[in-house]
Assembly symmetry: C2
Homo-oligomer: 420 residues x 2
């Protein structure tokens, strides 16, 4: 069979990117890897899993037979821990969401697939995306043959003016701007965050332009210092925000449990109403049927164990990520003094920052850096749909110890000197 006979997405380098991010660390096991946006490893005991399952079963008051029927079987398409998810976002983010507006998904990635499939009616609709952008969302758009309009981020993330301009550009091209995907807090890949006022302005623009906002918030708890503005969803008075949630960073990735909050009312041709969550559920029934009830119960057990408060449950992780980001910023300052030609941004939290370098930082440079200097990173060009970031790299500090970070930056400095 010829590759040209398969769906066009498979010839788009974009679809290689996720596997790159997902697997590059395994390809260079001895390198210090600033590449993956994954949490640090934690040791595994089967008793921990059994303990969470027990906590969940006890919390629900399930008999052995009832637990079997819930955890071993097929189940409710929208999930069975929706009430715990709603309680958690209320406690941690002040978001008011009814359990019925929650769809439990196979990670936030499936949430993106469901949201984009539902909201994009036909080829005349377009998806706006922050640029640079997480490849998960542009990949979904590519799979579904959805047109994408990039909205350039500034140093403080997305601003209302840029969204208005992108919407106008989309309309001029004959398409309806339908939704905007963004990470307002400690964005992947850029590390930028939106100030409170900019969030209010964005919500106003969304209402004006009839745009839905797909707010992805995997890193929001991991502040580097003090407070953080409220999420868009917490400020959402006109139900413009579809909130994409993840437990990958606050519980663990291996459960593949995330969620969508979609409390928008959908009015049918006969006047009947449903929640957007129910429409997403219909799509989900055809993508994965339901999220593993067993995996949901493990996450559910973690949530009840922590009183549905992941902010306090993650206090130690918050501290560790803070230390890692501080270590990274400190090491960069030591190795790249003013005038070195290397600059970076200073994120207020999260996993990532962007380094600007004086050379083309593509896959060739990356491979040489990995082989000869034992350091991995991600070319920023991977995160642009229409060019950009050619002399920038994304550094992720989440997966490394402070010692590895210091050593990694030293090696990176050697590599950059060798190029220059």
């Amino acid at each position: 069979m010829q590759l040209t006979d398969l769906h066009g997405s498979l010839r788009d380098p974009l679809l290689d990117t996720m596997n790159f991010l997902n697997e590059v660390t395994a390809r260079f096991p001895d390198a210090i890897s600033f590449a993956p946006g994954r949490p640090y490893d934690e040791p595994f005991d089967t008793e921990v899993i059994a303990g969470y399952l027990d906590a969940f079963v006890k919390h629900r008051g399930l008999s052995r037979d009832e637990a079997g029927a819930l955890l071993f079987q097929y189940g409710r398409t929208k999930g069975h821990i929706h009430d715990l998810v709603a309680a958690t976002v209320a406690n941690d983010e002040g978001i008011t969401a009814t359990p019925e507006s929650v769809v439990v998904t196979v990670g936030a990635q499936e949430g993106m697939l469901l949201a984009v499939r539902a909201l994009i009616r036909d080829p005349d609709d377009a998806l706006l995306v922050a640029s640079p952008c997480y490849v998960g969302i542009t990949g979904v758009a590519r799979l579904l043959d959805v047109a994408v309009t990039p909205v350039p981020e500034g140093p403080a993330g997305i601003d209302a003016g840029a969204v208005r301009a992108a919407a106008a550009r989309t309309r001029t091209a004959g398409r309806r701007p339908r939704a905007l995907y963004l990470v307002p807090d400690f964005a992947n890949p850029s590390g930028t965050s939106m100030p409170h006022a900019a969030r209010e302005e964005l919500l106003a623009v969304a209402a004006e332009e009839d745009l839905y906002l797909l707010e992805d918030n995997p890193y929001g708890l991991f502040t580097r210092s003090g407070d953080r503005p409220p999420t868009l969803k917490a400020l959402d008075r006109h139900r413009r925000v579809v909130y994409l949630g993840s437990f990958a960073k606050t519980c663990f990735p291996g459960a593949r449990v995330g969620y969508v909050l979609a409390d928008q009312l959908v009015v049918g041709p006969d006047g009947s109403t449903s929640l957007l969550a129910d429409q997403l559920s219909k799509i989900k029934s055809m993508t994965t049927v339901n999220t593993s009830p067993l995996a949901q119960a493990v996450i559910g057990g973690m949530l009840v164990t922590y009183g549905c408060r992941l902010r306090s449950a993650n206090a130690e992780r918050v501290q560790r990520y803070r230390e890692r980001l501080d270590t990274l910023l400190g090491a960069l300052a030591r190795h790249f003094p003013p005038g070195s030609g290397v600059t970076w941004n200073v994120p207020a939290g999260g996993y990532f920052l962007v380094l600007s370098v004086p050379f083309a930082a593509g896959e060739a440079a990356l491979t040489r850096c990995a082989r000869e200097h034992g350091v991995l990173w991600t070319p920023m060009s991977y995160f642009y749909v229409d060019g950009g970031g050619e002399r920038q790299i994304r550094l992720s500090c989440s997966y490394l110890t402070p010692e590895q970070i210091s050593l990694g930056v030293a090696r990176l400095a050697d590599f950059i000197r060798s190029v220059g």
Copy 2:
């Protein structure tokens, strides 16, 4: 927001069907339900899960840290139990598949999504489906705006002539017939099975017509008596078959772990080659990133515990399903003598059979039957993309005890008499 502003699939009754099948039992908890195609419930102990996880970790020889990095983290997109899957299909079905041709998926449903997305290049391609057909595949086609051509099943399933005719019809309509989805063994919903000779003929037609066969085999181990012909994949000399596997019926549904075997060679424009499995993996990276490594480890633990032989591990279940199908057939014969106007087929295994009844068996009849007679079933019309099955119902016996089956058929007979 208006429903008419969302993707067209959401106005198609097809997308309500899976949620119906998935959730109807919960809506009428006291009814005897011949509706869901799910295994019977088994009791749950957290120690069972911990035991399988231990078995897996021990089999792999993983340290506590290594186990944490594998089970708690993101992982290989194609999955981490691919070797065990390959060993199992070799042992149980005589299928030769390299581990690299395996993609572990979130149930067979995600496998369908990946296969259809990869194989259907553009709107000029069409998917052929057995008719009547499992809604999971037609639902995927609807989500992706893929044209579908039904291939009518006969009493012995799909035959080569019907496929040739459907392919010709598709070409006449200006489309390329690209793949055919079917369940050769104990089909859902019809219960039909293809004889050995028909399988060889179908493989020959697939080669002639340049069609790929999506063979879905969730029920194949559950024979009612004696032997069963080899799967299409076991007979596949020209790599025409993409095999969709499920552990939902042979292990348990709540893990949501299935797989695709896709050993086709894909040749790129530059002459480089890859496996179709690798192309599916690229798509999977944008649908669910990877299948829960934790859920995979539970299934992996079951596989190693049973020596990668699910046929023998399921001996008791095979016996139980056999008894259920026999009970159903016996009860039908008692309640519907010749001349009653009610007829049915006699499947050689699996979960399902089709009852032909002398009235319109749609949702109104179903609701009345559930409310007034306490019995649930599935209208066969749900399984036709272009009309059909209006006076037929699907009975599934998998979820019920023999006593419930006998009582359920008696109630169903009451209902049918009340209609007639």
